[in-house]
């Protein structure tokens, strides 16, 4: 029998279910808080600062230490190693020594026999603060030049000349808000001291290596003494990249001091107060363009609210600057980025990582240009798209070689007939006085790879056992996005074995070292390739064994559907595995991958930071209530480029989920700090992420068909985690469109994000007044 042509079940490009689906629905999938405490374990609680900015005059632990069940308390002075957990710049103490810089900053931690005891004792810690004036606004931070990292700049051409000479010029400023990750599983870590200086840490983290390094620094021990392990997270979205280090670090210092296992699980309010979020941005712009909307010059300032320390802010800002072009050729530009230091919690990575804010800026500006010229945003975009072979260099000097935005937009239009849809909206608005509808489209071009080249590498470890079963390990972490199943599919494809024969194992720094965070949408690109490399190395050895056994050249050995063929002879994969052992051939291999072609010059903000771009387009219809400002998304149509998708079902889940998350950022999710800098929205009762009714009632997400990645990515797939989030800007633009309808589309709304009912109503009233003043028909 010769090799059959049928594909192996569970291989690449198949809609294989999430590996943990049955565990999820039955409640048997284990999260860290589900692991039984070993006897003697302690639970921890934090003492958080009630001030946005204050000097710590004294801390009295007496009452807390005397409370029932309390075993230990820690302050900054109890950290045996270096008191710093800054992921990029060394400016972030785990616990402060003399100053608190945001409301919710951990000041001390307690370990006790039970969680209730720890939380009760935390309330007994007396901290004597001398409150200081906080800096809360971006305006104030810019004025004082108070930054967490140096300003960044990107320039091309002569923007000042372009702004002077153009036919039209607009300028102004607007804002977008931040966003809490609201992963359903709050931050948690369990630190267990081992022999000697060893420390084992279970952490709900996207970056086990950073936990390993952070804990080692804090305890003053080498990296090899710390093991970090994570099987799954209950959601991450960027919020468990650097932020998990604080949690794991405090658990580890308490465990070090008590020599007992310590679990730190933050209650939701502490989680939302103490850990960072998506950066709010202030955007100032001056843009010039011709009568047709062709942009000549753009002077853009992006000010990110970094919070109290740098954390990821410099890198988020770089990515924001790298996405302020979105799909457009800008001949003369100056992009300035400010990483502002304020007295709020330090903002951090969040799905899109600055990309959403950059695109928010340029797309809002494009919409303003369109209103100014009484034309459509689509028409303005059309004039400004990157060309093919010309006008194709980004502001950071990378040539856009894979531009398929026109194809993506055609695909969207083919699905929905935008012209007719637009007519329906206009007709509705003509006869409806209170409710107004809006429609907008949104093109997305998103760069894939970490801006910092060093992070674009990955490792994997694959073992084949003599019964043919396989265990798979790699540096990527599973937070629900389906990374583990995708990488398993790659290995199933390589070995041509059923995916059920592959056991996916927890990520641990003890198996694959020096890993990158699972972030920047890169999980399957990097780890899929590393695992493929490992599997191919084992497969090559097994091929040689088979070739010798069958006495034919290795090139004629074929792995197919759980068997290994040599012409019409064959044996099972398991038999070959057993035979390889007999022949004393290693069935274990590490795999490694580094992304080719990329380079980046931090000094000039230029290079080729991205291996490739991924594209998408969306159209969204909304309705607004001009009496109350309430809004609702009625329909969304999405097309997302996934290359040749490794798993269409998983990718579709990422597309839909990212879109709704992006909608939330732009509509209902409002972070509210009071005048003293205290976050007032720190639980789901006050911070409103979308619910099921908020998802568009007509919601069609499609994967762009027949679009293999032109670069040699893992089986020509593309990354998908972040890009579709920015499709939700269609909702933002549609709300603006609905408001603009009140001026007969001649004026642009004065609106900041999120478009809460309050902001929408204010914008409605403002545009009506302006339209009446300018004599425009309503």
């Amino acid at each position: 029998m010769s090799a059959p042509l049928a594909r192996v079940p569970g291989g690449i490009h198949a809609s294989v279910r999430h590996d943990s689906a049955a565990g999820h629905v039955s409640g048997s999938a284990l999260y860290l808080d589900d692991i039984p405490n070993v006897p003697g374990s302690l639970e921890a609680a934090l003492v958080l600062s009630p001030h946005a900015h204050a000097r710590i005059k004294a801390i009295d632990l007496t009452a807390a230490l005397a409370a029932p069940g309390v075993v230990a308390a820690i302050l900054a002075k109890d950290i045996p190693g270096k008191n710093d957990i800054g992921p990029i710049r060394p400016d972030e103490p785990l616990l402060p020594t003399d100053m608190v810089e945001y409301d919710g900053q951990p000041v001390a931690a307690i370990a006790a026999g039970t969680l209730d005891q720890a939380r009760a004792a935390a309330k007994l810690v007396r901290v004597d603060y001398e409150p200081l004036a906080p800096v809360l606004s971006l305006d104030e931070a810019i004025e004082r030049e108070q930054f967490v990292a140096p300003p960044q700049i990107m320039t091309r051409g002569d923007v000042d000349a372009a702004l002077k000479t153009a036919a039209h010029r607009l300028s102004g400023e607007f804002n977008c808000g931040g966003q809490d990750h609201f992963y359903l599983e709050g931050q948690i870590a369990i630190a267990t001291p081992g022999e000697g200086r060893e420390m084992h840490v279970f952490s709900s983290t996207q970056h086990p290596t950073e936990i390993q390094h952070g804990v080692a620094h804090l305890l003053g021990i080498p990296f090899n003494a710390v093991t970090c392990e994570v099987r799954r997270m209950g959601g991450g979205f960027g919020g468990k990249e650097s932020q998990a280090t604080m949690i794991a670090g405090i658990a580890a210092v308490l465990a070090w001091k008590t020599r007992r296992p310590v679990k730190l699980r933050l209650p939701r309010d502490d989680d939302m107060r103490a850990t960072g979020k998506r950066h709010p941005f202030l955007i100032r712009y001056e843009v010039s363009f011709d009568d047709g909307g062709l942009i000549d010059g753009l002077d853009l300032m992006l000010a990110a609210n970094g919070g109290n320390v740098a954390d990821h802010t410099p890198a988020v800002l770089t990515r924001a600057l790298c996405h302020s072009d979105n799909c457009y050729w800008l001949p003369n530009l100056r992009f300035r980025g400010y990483a502002c230091k304020t007295n709020i919690v330090s903002n951090t990575a969040f799905r899109g990582y600055g990309g959403p804010q950059g695109m928010f800026a340029i797309e809002t500006i494009i919409e303003m240009i369109a209103r100014h010229l009484s034309t459509s945003p689509e028409a303005v975009r059309e004039r400004n798209f990157y060309g093919i072979g010309r006008n194709d260099v980004t502001p950071y000097g990378m040539k856009v070689e894979d531009n398929i935005i026109a194809r993506v937009l055609e695909e969207l239009d083919r699905n929905v007939d935008l012209a007719r849809w637009r007519e329906e909206i206009v007709a509705f608005n003509r006869q409806s006085t209170i409710i107004k509808k809006g429609l907008a489209t949104m093109p997305v071009k998103f760069g894939i790879s970490f801006n910092r080249p060093a992070l674009n590498q990955a490792g994997a470890l694959v073992h084949v056992y003599t019964d043919g079963s396989v265990t798979l390990n790699h540096g990527g972490t599973e937070m629900g996005q389906g990374l583990f199943i995708k990488v398993a599919q790659v290995v199933a494809e390589a070995f041509q074995i059923d995916i059920d024969n592959i056991r996916i194992t927890a990520t641990t720094t003890a198996k694959v070292p020096n890993t990158s965070p699972t972030a920047a949408s890169s999980g399957s690109d990097l780890n899929g390739m590393a695992a493929l490399n490992a599997a191919e190395r084992i497969k090559a050895r097994m091929t040689d064994v088979a070739a010798e056994q069958f006495n034919i050249p290795a090139g004629e050995i074929v792995f197919q559907q759980n068997r290994v063929y040599a012409g019409n002879r064959s044996m099972s994969f398991a038999e070959l595995a057993a035979l390889s052992w007999e022949k004393r051939v290693s069935l274990s291999a590490t795999g490694y991958y580094r992304t080719p072609k990329i380079h980046w010059d931090f000094a000039t903000n230029s290079g080729r930071p991205f291996y490739y771009f991924t594209y998408g387009a969306a159209a969204a219809e909304v309705a607004i209530d001009t009496l109350t400002g309430e809004s609702r998304v009625l329909r969304a149509e999405l097309v997302q480029d996934c290359g040749q998708s490794l798993n269409p079902a998983i990718d579709l889940g990422q597309i839909e989920g990212a879109f709704v998350q992006g909608m939330g950022w732009l509509t209902t999710e409002e972070l509210f700090w009071d005048e003293k800098g205290r976050l007032r929205t720190h639980g789901p009762s006050t911070y409103k992420i979308p619910g099921s009714r908020d998802a568009p009632p007509v919601f069609n997400a499609r994967i762009l068909p027949d679009a293999p990645n032109r670069e040699e990515t893992v089986f020509r797939s593309k990354a998908v985690g972040e890009p579709p989030l920015m499709l939700a800007l269609s909702v933002w633009l549609a709300i603006r469109d609905a408001i603009s309808s009140l001026s007969d589309y001649r004026l642009a709304a004065k609106l900041d994000a999120p478009a809460t009912p309050e902001r929408v109503l204010e914008a409605v009233d403002e545009i009506r007044a302006r339209a009446a003043g300018s004599g425009s028909a309503i």
Binding site: S15, H18, S20, A21, A22, G23, H24, V25, S26, G27, A29, L30, Y31, D33, P36, A120, F182, Y183, L184, R232, G234, G235, G236, P267, R268, I434, I435, G480, Q481, A623, I624, D625, L627, G629, S631, R632, G653, V660, Q661, T668, E670, F672, D674, R680, T681, G683, P684, S685, I689, P690, G691, S692, R693, D694, A695, P697, F699, P757, E758, D765
Partner: protein, 472 residues
């Protein structure tokens, strides 16, 4: 006496734990059933959802509840079903679980057990499974990964199949009832069964917490970890569970939940019912009561403006007897009521609308479902020969307490129901209220939106155009 109930079909007689231990902590910590998750401990995310069963007329009836907001004695006599009891004893997935798997409706999976339990309870209910019903059933469950589309798809396929662990067992009845009280470590939890018993306890222990559904007080336990020394739980009092609809008056006993009240509200006050469907979530409404909403006297108190506009009354009871008080006189200020220390709320009664009376209520919030209102408005009026008569307008979220808008009423009563008359509203409402600014909305927005809600009533009663985005 121990607390008696059944858990996934197995009898339990629990002793030696605090009576203010939450059901969530009990399940995870004592029973080691860790499928039920803590996502927020404030009844908003639904990850802790479990189902309670009781014998009904047509077999067992199930209701989804937030286990984080309940304390263990509230399980008295009940059958509790958790995610671990949903599948068959051999591990065969329940059709609800199967539907979620088939729809690719799980990503991180942390919210999934809660969704599965809410969906299970929903699957057992009579009635259609259209999108509106599905969203209502899911409003108490948050998912941050999927965008909900696959979960909603899974809901469309639901069939009322019994839970795996309960297939061969009768659902627990009242025979499992616990004793008159439950004590542990100096804490006492009273479970009175009659109004008389409750009145005696109320007089005897004036400092004891009166607990109904616990959706408000539960937060103090769940989040603040308060251990109340003494609690008197009203829900076991059968007289307080009575509902009556006769002689032109609707009367709800104090322990009647929102969910139990909904069918009659739907019949007589559809707009009130629509607003009640937006109070909390299904999980919250299965526990929360009108009496609780009144007793907490929240400045927003979604039902309070409605009850004021409808001229409803509260029955206050003591050992000596009872008295009826208009809701308007019951609410005295910020979280302050006219209830004396030995009194408790026994019932709420609402006079039915007279002929040609219009009642409408609106809720403004950042999110449609399960959000605390920025503004609540309730209007009861007649329009005869184009003239407004007997307008009662009440608002929540506009002052330290929910209150009538007397200037608004005066500006419109006896006036033509016209845009000209409505133009006087903005000034009138500013005379009635000086709202505060907070994270739910600035004072200016509250005033403007509240006035515009009068415009909405006008539009809805005079034009055929849509006046709400959610009506599209």
């Amino acid at each position: 006496m121990p607390i008696r109930f059944r858990l996934n079909g197995m009898p339990r007689a629990v002793e030696g734990i605090s009576p203010t231990m939450t059901v969530l902590d009990y399940l995870r910590g004592v029973e080691r059933l860790t499928g039920t998750k803590e996502g927020c401990a404030e009844g908003d995310c639904g990850a802790c959802t479990v189902a309670l069963a009781k014998p009904g007329q047509n077999g067992p009836e199930f209701e989804a509840v937030n286990s984080c907001l309940m304390v263990v004695p509230q399980l008295d006599g009940r059958e509790v079903l958790t995610i671990e009891g949903l599948a068959g004893r051999d591990g065969t997935l329940h059709p609800v679980q199967h539907a979620l798997v088939e729809a690719d409706a799980t990503q991180c999976g942390f919210c999934t057990p809660g969704f599965a339990m809410a969906m299970f309870a929903f699957s057992q209910e009579p009635g259609g499974k259209d999108d509106d019903a599905i969203h209502e059933a899911l409003a108490g469950n948050l998912c941050r990964c999927t965008g909900y589309r696959p979960i909603v798809d899974a809901c469309r396929k639901l069939q009322p199949v019994p839970a795996g662990c309960l297939k061969e067992l009768p659902v627990a009845g009242g025979s499992m009832s616990s004793g008159a009280n439950y004590c542990n470590g100096g804490q006492i939890f009273h479970l009175p069964k009659s109004v008389d018993e409750l009145a005696v306890l109320r007089a005897q222990f004036p400092d004891a917490i009166l607990l109904g559904g616990g959706t408000d007080l539960g937060l103090r336990v769940s989040k603040e970890r308060e251990a109340f020394p003494a609690v008197i739980w009203t829900v076991g009092v059968s007289e307080l569970k009575r509902v009556s609809d006769k002689d032109g008056v609707l009367e709800f006993g104090a322990a009647v939940t929102y969910s139990e009240a909904l069918p009659l509200l739907e019949k007589h006050f559809p707009s009130f019912a629509a607003l009640v469907r937006r109070i909390g979530s299904r999980q919250i409404r299965n526990l929360g009561t009108f009496a609780g909403n009144l007793a907490t006297a929240s400045p927003i108190g979604d039902t309070i403006p409605c009850l004021m506009a409808l001229n409803a009354e509260v029955k206050l009871h003591t050992q000596a007897g009872s008295r009826w008080l208009p809701v308007e006189q019951f609410i005295l200020g910020y979280r302050k009521t006219a209830m004396a220390q030995d009194e408790f709320i026994a019932a709420v009664r609402i006079p039915l609308l007279g002929k040609d009376r219009i009642f409408t209520a609106y809720k403004l919030s950042k999110r449609f479902d399960q959000d605390i209102s920025t503004v609540v408005a309730a209007f009861s009026l007649s329009v005869t020969s184009g003239v407004v008569r007997d307008l009662r307008a009440a608002f929540g979220g506009m002052a330290a307490q929910a209150a009538r808008a007397k200037h608004v009423e005066a500006a419109l009563n006896g006036q033509p129901w016209s845009e000209d008359s409505i133009a006087r509203i903005d000034q009138a409402i500013a005379q009635d209220f000086q709202p505060m600014s907070d994270h739910r909305g600035a004072a200016a927005y509250r005033l403007c939106a509240a006035a515009n809600l009068v415009r909405r009533v006008h539009a809805e009663t005079t034009s055929g155009q849509p006046a709400q985005v959610w009506a599209l």
